[in-house]
């Protein structure tokens, strides 16, 4: 835990630095008697700097903190990345092919990942869910679903 916290505070320092760099590039435009667009960001920068230093100091010097292991295993990261990749691929595909055609295979993929192994289930549910959402959103509430450039 301590070592992870030290690592996190270093990341936070980097983030703070980058944020400060962005603030300094803000265009200046003044309304008399009030704070500019960069006031609040600067306050937040100082707060974050202070807090991450506190976190760092606490992790370095406050040794009573129990040594629990927290964090994410490599396998987990791989799993998350692959799921995210599927989601992003789904969204990208929707831009071109629209909601109706792309959603069933996406749901099927997610069901496979979460341990569904029955073929019937993998065929029936994705189609059913896709249609239910389509009817509920589009036909019932007249909410536009992603249309797709090709269809």
């Amino acid at each position: 835990m301590r070592r992870t916290n030290i690592f996190i505070s270093i990341i936070l320092f980097a983030f703070t630095g980058y944020y400060a760099y962005l603030i300094s590039g803000l265009p200046a435009r003044n309304i008399p008697h009030t704070l500019g667009a960069d006031f609040m960001p600067w306050v937040l920068t100082v707060c974050l700097l202070l807090l991450s230093s506190l976190l760092l100091m606490k992790s370095l010097f406050y040794k009573r903190e129990e040594e629990r292991v927290v964090g994410i295993s490599l396998k987990e990261v791989a799993g998350i990345l692959s799921l995210m990749a599927i989601i992003i691929a789904y969204i990208a595909a929707m831009i071109y092919f629209g909601y109706v055609f792309i959603t069933p295979p996406f749901i099927a993929a997610m069901m496979l990942m979460s341990g569904s192994r029955k073929l019937k289930e993998i065929i029936i549910f994705p189609i059913g869910i896709t249609l239910a959402v389509y009817i509920f959103f589009y036909r019932f509430f007249n909410v536009l679903l992603p249309g797709g450039k090709i269809f």
Binding site: H33, G79, F106, I107, M110, G115, E121, I129
Partner: protein, 494 residues
Amino acid sequence: MSDVALAALSDVLRLPNLIASMMGVFFGLFIGASPGLTISLGMVLLLPLTFALSPVTSFCLLLGLYTSGMTGGSISAILLNIPGTPSASATAIDGHEMAKKGRAGEAIGTAVISSFFGGMFSLGCLVLIAPAIAKFALRFGAPELFALVLLGLTLICSFGQRSIIKGLISGVIGLIFMTVGLDNMMGIPRFTFGYVELQAGVSFLPALIGLFAIPQILEGIVIGAQVIPKYEAKISGLLPRFKDITQLFKTMVLGALVGTGIGAIPGAGGPIAVFLSYDYAKRISRNRTLFGTGLAEGVAAPESANNGVAGGAMIPMLTLGIPGDPITAILLGALMIQGLTPGPLLFQTNAQFVYSVFWAFLVANIMTLFLTLSTIKVWVRLLQVPKRILLPIIAILCIVGSYALHNTFFDTGVMLFFGLLGYFMRKYEFPVVPMLLAIILGPALEEHLRISLIISQGDPSIFIRHPISLVFIIISLISFIGPLLKRIRASEEE
């Protein structure tokens, strides 16, 4: 009871109006419960329908949707830890813990009954003392609102579970994200990297869905964790017992008071009310330390507050013609479409209509109560759906819902970003609730601060010279320093 009130009642009880009310309640429950469909969206979709309806019928429909939408939001918060509406996010804290312990039915029951109580309480205020409240609410200018938002933000300290430092970091990062976008005060874009989409800033609904729903999906699918509470078929304990409800009475009154009061202030907003109410319920409770572990009080407080907001927000709308929150803004639009001019004159020229609104709100609350209570079993049975099917459904609703909000995938991207962030925050023990509070309150904090200073011509003493703002600032200081001192004392005693 006056003749006008009775005439209004018999009008509201006409079959078409009751059907409209029922339809509104039915839609609202689904809209509220599905992440990605908001009450405002539902209202706007129904608005063109009301063009052709009589004023009373359209209000029966819209108020039904408003009331039950608020309740519906807490159902998904309790069962799945995904608040269906922003105002249900405080309910998720204890409600979902209850569900995890197999008390999902009781949690929903408590939520529904407290909602009903909050709604009734605020209706009472609306009928009896609306003009007085509205007059007081008008005294909330920029400095008062700044102080109120500040008070809301100090709650971050109370939600920093293990480490206050991490809670504060999470809050500050949330505030930093909210500085992205067009600065309305100066009209300049900030941190947009040249993307016009980013000028709208981080829409908080996708951020909210991301922070809560995506980690559930990731955890459930990737790790195979038991993210959905087990369904327990035991029917006993499905509904809260009468004795439990009476014990919650104090909490519900508190929630209703906070909700109605804050709801009546134009521009303050529902989420701040539910979190304040949750925090105060915790402070006055005997079971203080059990909050966050699945306590019925932790559900009752925010729930009575969020339906209190509904009635509270109608106070300035009806008496002054000023909406109390975004949803009443749409109601106000509906009123004007019907050719009715809200404001003090409405009570004189259209007294019967005003009474009809009161009755319609009453009917909507009663219908929501019965519809939800009678369907608790159905909702809880949702937990019976296997994870491998339920999680993909949630994922689809989140993705499609965040797209449908403004018809752009940009919001879906925002949702995924906050989803990943929320996942890593959970893993590294950064509490998520402070970030949520910051996202909801951040823009208002900055805006009111700067407007106050323009009004006072750069003199910061404006926050102390205004008595209401002074009181809030003092309370904020206490609630900021209190938890810190407690933490320090606790560590010394070790």
